[in-house]
Symmetry: C2
Subunit: 118 residues, 2 copies
């Protein structure tokens, strides 16, 4: 469930502006303000089923955009690469002070890695 | 002109799959295969004006997606950050071999910089 929330939040962050105003409002209330379907129904003056349907349709649309464009996936891969660079830097920082040659070799490796991302 | 081609190519790379099949075909022929409007008109069996209109409408749509989502801009900023990290690494590699303390300080700075991106 947590994974799904994170996933919808990311998709919403990327593609939310392509949804209708009503869909944006309801996704926002449900995922960001953490309101229940009944609470949203009351505030929006529509049925609980109506809220549920709007939510499901909005989620489906967000997943469809990702299927077509894959930009969240591209972004996550970028983040993963940055984490990897970070780990490489950590490893480099642990090298003994007297082995500057090795430190510089590691930095050259990191550079090659970054250049492949640019 | 070159800037515009690069910009459209990037927008097309990000949002192209949201265009119609015909728009995708024509953008592809014009920007990737470098065909003229007349050549595309002939191959598609439509008027030169028709090709022009389709092209302009497709470009407008791509710019509208970017106005709404700003994902190309986000991506370009990411690339710029990676270039900056690369420059920081270059600077670190130029530090004298006997100043390992300074090298490690620089690496800690780079790490902070990366962590802000993750």
């Amino acid at each position: 469930m947590y994974d799904k929330i994170v996933q919808i939040a990311l998709l919403f962050d990327f593609y939310g502006q392509l949804l209708t105003e009503k869909q944006i409002e309801i996704i926002d209330m449900y995922y960001n303000d953490d309101l229940s379907l009944s609470e949203i129904a009351e505030q929006q003056d529509i049925s609980r089923q109506g809220v549920y349907d709007t939510l499901k349709r909005a989620e489906k649309t967000l997943f469809e955009y990702e299927d077509k464009l894959g930009l969240v996936n591209r972004f996550l891969q970028q983040k993963e690469s940055l984490s990897k660079i970070n780990t490489m830097l950590d490893r480099t920082l642990e090298i003994e002070e007297n082995d500057v040659g090795l430190i510089k070799d590691e930095l050259e490796n990191i550079k090659i890695y970054i250049e492949n991302l640019i």
